[in-house]
């Protein structure tokens, strides 16, 4: 009995191996050979939702951007262009926007896309019952806050479909960044009939109705999402016939690199980063020289400073800490990440940014500043705590800072590593506000407008909800609030430049580096160009150089 089952098991294993060897894996392509079809295979993680009204994360957006589209969009030069909106007008007081939709817009099920679909979507997304995480991006629209915060009737929202192709939007007060906001996913139209019929399940492949260049053919959860060309789409026909998003577990960095090397994937995406050790290896491997590519991102990593701590309140101390860091070495030798050393907190592409105003790295100057602040050679300076959530990049950064500040400034640093959700909660508790010193921070533009940085992050009214650093400056607040409503672009930039000068003078937090997206792309994949903003990579432009 034993011998038999043993033989059987060995036989089975061998048989499986032989089968596998003969088949050679039908999905595996020779790593260099071009495919014969217009199919792109890329990695992803399981998207939490495909509902544009509920999406908050990069993974969901990667798919949503291919399936849905909105009124307008922006290119990387900051120019606005109409998508479903053919043209639009703004009233002189900047409070009324009128959008004219294109003719012949259709949903994937054949329904026409109408202004009413926009009206429905916005009212649905702001309704508290929908519980949308991003509902607050609708706040500039008239009555949005009253609906969301005070329970007013969602039908009172300042948006109205005058006819099938005309959408009129009333704002609470002038908002110069409104078109930028209107380009984001929370403002996309939604198919009311599908949502009302299927409820929460309307985003499953068999129920979903979309208006973008691609439609969802299949969603095998935790395995793959298959997107195909949408024949009802109004715009230019994409070259790609199909895109397969292979779902990997979160953090499976080694796995998608291996799958790419084995020819199971054609590219990695801005949302599936390369692990530093692997990126290092691939960069120095001649076979991959032409396949590993970098693209800038509208994102900054920085160290959040707690301004409530007396010894950190002196800008000279914050500057000393910032000037002592060797960012070039940090990025290239220690973190081995794609990125650029940061001077300003704001990344390239954000109007108002003036990196020249910010002090530059200088260890000698850092020591002098610390001495001027009353701590010559670090004497009398208390031990600092640097807190981070577990991720290799933060752990390595923390250890670098610990040694660097000890060597250059003679300041001792204690590292405090927290579980992810514990860390998130801690930022609003006395553990941070009363006892914390520094923690790792970072911000990625939702939309590339100075509002998303100067107002959203550093206005003191926003402070407890954002990085909670405790910094406040009335002059700054007044400047950015004026800039918010300033409709003259040049005047608006001038206001933000003044605000930037205040940030630079106070050196409120310590900038580290600007992110870059690093991806692997097979030579036969053409026009794989991620945007600076959230790394959006439109599949419409991509083509496969087939055999």
């Amino acid at each position: 009995m034993l011998a038999l089952s043993c033989r059987l098991a060995i036989g089975l294993v061998l048989a499986a191996m032989v089968v596998a060897a003969c088949r050679g894996g039908p999905s595996a392509r020779d790593a260099t050979q071009a495919p014969s079809e217009q199919v792109l295979r890329v990695p992803t993680t399981e998207p939490p939702t495909l509902d544009p009204g509920l999406a908050t994360d990069h993974t969901s957006l990667d798919i949503i951007w291919q399936l849905f589209e909105g009124l307008v969009a922006f290119d990387d030069q900051g120019n606005v262009y109409g998508v479903e909106a053919e043209r639009w007008t703004v009233s002189d007081d900047g409070r009324t926007y009128t959008f004219q939709l294109r003719d012949g817009l259709r949903w994937s099920d054949g329904h026409p896309v109408t202004a009413a679909d926009y009206e429905y979507a916005w009212k649905r997304n702001i309704a508290p019952a929908t519980a949308s995480d991003y509902a607050n991006v609708l706040y500039p629209v008239l009555n949005a806050q009253r609906i969301h915060k005070e329970g007013a009737d969602p039908s009172t929202l300042g948006v109205r479909a005058v006819d099938d192709r005309t959408l009129v939007v009333q704002l609470e007060q002038p908002a110069a960044y409104f078109l930028r906001l209107a380009a984001t996913w929370t403002y996309y139209p939604l198919p009311r009939w599908a949502i009302e019929r299927h409820g929460d399940r309307w985003t499953e492949a068999e129920n979903i109705v979309t208006n973008g260049p691609f439609k969802l053919q299949a969603w095998r959860h935790n395995q793959e999402l298959v997107l195909v060309r949408n024949d009802t789409y109004w715009g230019p026909r994409p070259t790609l016939e199909r895109a397969i998003f292979k779902v990997f577990p979160e953090g499976a960095e080694e796995q998608w690199v291996a799958a790419y090397e084995a020819g199971e994937l054609d590219a990695t995406t801005t949302n599936t980063p390369l692990p530093p050790a692997q990126a290092d290896r691939l960069r120095s491997d001649p076979r991959y020289q032409n396949e590993i590519r970098r693209f800038p991102a509208s994102a900054t990593r920085f160290i959040v400073v707690n301004h409530r701590r007396p010894y950190l309140r002196d800008p000279r101390v914050r500057q000393a800490l910032g000037l002592a860091i060797d960012r070039e070495r940090l990025l290239n030798d220690v973190l081995r990440r794609a990125g650029k050393p940061a001077t300003s907190l704001q990344p390239e592409g954000i109007a108002g940014r003036k990196p020249d105003l910010w002090p530059t790295e200088n260890v000698q100057r850092a020591r002098e500043l610390l001495a001027e602040a009353g701590y010559p050679n670090g004497q009398g300076f208390p031990e600092l705590t640097f807190t981070y959530n577990t991720a290799d990049v933060w752990k390595t950064l923390g250890q670098y800072l610990q040694q660097r500040w000890k060597e250059t400034l003679n300041i001792n640093v204690r590292l405090d590593n927290m579980e992810w959700k514990v860390f998130l909660k801690w930022r609003y508790e006395p553990g941070w506000t009363a006892q914390g010193d520094l923690y790792r921070g970072g911000w990625v533009s939702d939309f590339e407008d100075p509002y998303n940085w100067y107002n959203t992050l550093w206005d003191s009214a926003e402070d407890p909800t954002q990085f909670n650093g405790g910094w406040g400056n009335r002059e700054y607040d007044a400047l950015v609030r004026r800039a918010r409503a300033e409709l003259d672009p040049a005047a608006r930039v001038a206001l933000y430049e003044q605000a930037e000068a205040l940030l630079a003078r106070d050196y409120i937090h310590i900038p580290l580096f600007y992110d870059q997206y690093e991806v692997l792309v097979k030579p036969y994949v053409q026009n794989f160009v991620p945007s600076r903003v959230l790394g959006e990579t439109p599949l419409t432009k991509i083509a496969i150089a087939t055999r």
């Binding site: 050790a277 290092d280 991720a391 405090d416 579980e419 992810w420």
Partner: protein, 333 residues
């Protein structure tokens, strides 16, 4: 938008380990009166077992290395040399350097402290909880047995990761929640903030030992020598201590030899979630995790700690086997 949930990466395996079954069913236990002589006899036999002796010597060396790391390590474990990161073995760094240019050999020596502490302290706690519970359940039987064993089933099924997070946060809040730092907080800091991990791992891992001990006690309590002792009027504690518990030693030792590497690796997986040792203090588990990521580029970062762990496990097994054989009075080769 800020970045999404960071890489969670390989993390906690199920903390369960399978129950080691009762292995010494062939023996009939030893008479209580001869115990002193048996210990001497056992030691004599252990010394004759070459594999066990080799294991014991290796474990002693590791323990010495851990305790004497301050003297033995060529560099401080935290000292970085950013001009010499990720280098292979060389005369300056026998086992190479890591991502921050730190000496791997030094980190291995210091890491032994944390890893041995995790392995041994957790095992100690496990035995301290598991043996009494198992013995009581097996000895008294009836409703107490049902209650304790079903409680074991329940605890076995709890999401241990959640338990670890709760215990660690509680311990952290209790120790560092303001006021003057207590002595316990200093102990916690010395172990890289792992006090909570010790408690949590012990809380979830004693179940196997309890099951084993119960099984052995059940088996032996009806054997003649125990019946005889009872008939002679031996008290319950005396029956338990003198006759029943010595017979549970063998499987407990086997379980413990498996438990030590298990706890060491578990600490490693916890560090992925931010629940492990606080940087820059090293542990073998954390070093293996870091090494695994560099496996294809700098294999020495994985080979060094993995070899250290495997040799330690091997030694634990040899010593465990040796002890088991030595303590089985009826075993004759």
């Amino acid at each position: 938008m800020t970045e999404p949930q960071p890489a969670s990466s390989p993390s906690l395996p199920r903390a369960r380990q399978p129950a080691a079954p009762a292995l010494s069913a062939a023996g009939e236990g030893w008479p209580a009166l001869a115990r002193g002589g048996l210990w001497r006899e056992a030691w004599r036999r252990l010394r004759r077992n070459r594999a066990a002796l080799a294991g014991l010597v290796f474990l002693a060396l590791v323990a010495l290395g851990a305790l004497g790391a301050d003297l033995l390590a060529p560099y401080p474990y935290w000292q970085q040399d950013l001009a010499a990161v990720r280098q292979g073995p060389s005369p300056q760094h026998w086992l190479g350097t890591d991502e921050l240019g730190r000496d791997v050999l030094s980190r291995l020596l210091y890491g032994a402290r944390i890893s041995l502490a995790v392995g041994l302290i957790v095992q100690l706690l496990i035995v301290l909880i598991g043996v009494p519970v198992g013995a009581l359940a097996g000895y008294y039987g009836g409703w107490l047995d049902t209650l304790l064993m079903r409680a074991v089933d329940v605890l076995y099924s709890l999401p241990d990761l959640l338990l670890v997070i709760v215990v660690m946060s509680t311990v952290r809040a209790a120790l560092h929640g303001g006021g003057t730092p207590s002595g316990l907080a200093a102990v916690d800091a010395a172990f890289g903030g792992l006090l909570g991990v010790f408690v949590a791992l012990a809380l979830t891992s004693w179940l196997t030992v309890a099951r084993l001990v119960r099984g052995q006690v059940l088996y032996y309590k009806t054997r003649e020598f125990v019946e005889a002792a009872r008939a002679l009027g031996a008290s319950t504690p005396r029956l338990l201590w003198g006759h029943l518990l010595p017979n549970t030693l063998a499987p407990v030792i086997v379980a413990a030899t498996f438990g030590v590497p298990h706890a060491i690796l578990l600490e490693a997986s916890l560090s992925f979630l931010g629940l492990g040792v606080q940087a820059p203090l090293p542990s073998w588990g954390a070093m293996i995790l870091e090494g695994y990521k560099a496996m294809r580029a700098q294999p020495h970062l994985l080979i060094a700690p993995a070899t250290a762990l495997s040799l330690t496990v091997l030694s634990c097994n040899f010593v465990g086997d040796g002890l088991r054989d030595a303590l089985d009075p009826w075993l004759r080769h």
